[in-house]
């Protein structure tokens, strides 16, 4: 690089990018492996047929209940208030560990194909986000909000019925599965949590 006179960013970027544009291809074994993997996987989840209307509004118009313990209610007061405004009502026991980082995913049943699920993370963190197949594993798509109680983070997400995998990303880098949920490992032996909704 020192052999080149100082270039502007566009010229520099183009020169670097032209090197990176070298083609990369996989052969048709890719599809053979893919088809084998699909055949050995579970069948496609048909309970998530395309929804009528926007996902983000589908659950608003349907009756639903949210189950939260008194301890959780205290920890999640701020977000519960928001949910209550949308029509959630009954409170009932739920599980939570007070001394170790803990995560709880609670499903609120709904008669539609979409269910409101409250995800809770309790543990030391500066930021927490939820990743799962229902948000295309987008690390920035679903941040959890601090409840105002130290260490408690929550977000409620409408999730289609069926089997889902999810995990939390803590402080933008640490991958944390739910210690209380069944786990599933991917090809890299990284564990994600499994959530069954509406089944």
């Amino acid at each position: 690089m020192s052999e080149h006179p100082r270039e502007n960013d566009d010229v520099f970027a183009e020169r670097v990018a032209s090197v990176l544009r070298a083609p990369e291809r996989f052969d048709d074994d890719f599809e053979r492996s893919l088809v084998d993997a699909i055949h050995s996987d579970r069948p496609i989840d048909r309970s998530t047929e395309p929804r009528r209307g926007a996902l983000s509004f589908a659950w608003w118009s349907t009756p639903r209940r949210m189950d939260v313990s008194p301890v959780m209610a205290l920890a999640l007061a701020a977000s519960i208030a928001a949910v209550a405004a949308l029509g959630a009502s009954n409170l009932a026991p739920a599980r939570i560990a007070a001394t170790t980082p803990s995560i709880v995913a609670q499903a609120a049943s709904a008669p539609d194909t979409v269910t409101l699920v409250r995800f809770v993370f309790v543990g030391p963190a500066k930021s927490v986000s939820l990743v799962g197949d229902f948000n295309a594993w987008g690390a920035d798509a679903t941040p959890l909000h601090s409840t105002g109680v130290k260490g408690a983070w929550t977000v409620s997400v409408p999730v289609p019925s069926g089997r889902h995998e999810y995990a939390f990303i803590v402080d933008g880098a640490r991958w944390v599965p739910d210690p209380y949920a069944p786990t599933s490992s991917d090809d890299f032996d990284t564990k994600s949590s499994v959530l069954m909704v509406g089944t």
Binding site: M1, S2, I44, F134, W137
Partner: protein
């Protein structure tokens, strides 16, 4: 490969896949695999991991196919999943990458480097690219290597255009810094 599928529109292949016709999904994979292979290789840094990441992304896409709201834009929807899978892989493997980077620095310190030719080699640039944080790496690749518009990148990543421009600018600055260091050793 079934020649009869090559002219079938994406949306019909998506519907067939939803009916359980796996070969229809394999055709979608053949149709888009090459578009995303280079991006995946550059993002994760090697072909073996990139192939695993792409396989994982395509399987996730198959499982989530019912949530593809615009089947005629399947390719754009798939790109989102591929990009997220690459990003997730990088985050998950950050520790391993740091260890490898340390190893590589140690190797560089003891290696007798041949004279540099005039151009940057792919290995040089790939090595520099892997030192960018994941968001800068993704933004630089999409903008300058895959030559997407900022609007297209925003649609794929869900990030704002001004933030993306800043990431690309910072990526350029960091790449320049890293490559200058390498060549001045």
């Amino acid at each position: 490969m079934s020649n009869s599928l090559t002219s079938v529109p994406d949306e019909h292949l998506v519907q067939a896949s939803l009916r359980g016709e796996v070969e229809a999904f394999a055709e979608l994979s053949r149709r888009y695999r090459d578009h995303y292979t280079r991006f995946a290789v550059r993002m994760v840094g090697n072909r073996d991991d990139a192939e695993d990441v792409l396989q994982s992304a395509f399987i996730r896409a198959y499982r989530a196919l019912a949530r593809c709201r615009e089947p005629d834009r399947f390719g754009a929807w798939l790109y989102q999943i591929v990009a997220n899978e690459c990003r997730t892989f990088v985050v998950r493997h950050a520790r391993r990458e740091k260890r490898l980077a340390r190893d590589q620095l140690a190797i560089q310190a003891i290696a007798v480097e041949p004279e540099f030719d005039d151009g940057d080699t792919l290995a040089d640039v790939q090595h520099a690219l892997l030192q960018l944080d994941v968001e800068q790496r993704e933004a630089f690749l999409m903008k300058h290597v895959e030559q997407l518009s900022y609007e297209e990148i925003a649609e794929i990543t869900g990030d704002g255009i001004s933030a993306l421009k800043m990431r690309v600018k910072r990526a350029c600055a960091r790449l320049r810094e890293i490559l200058e260091e390498v060549h001045d050793v």
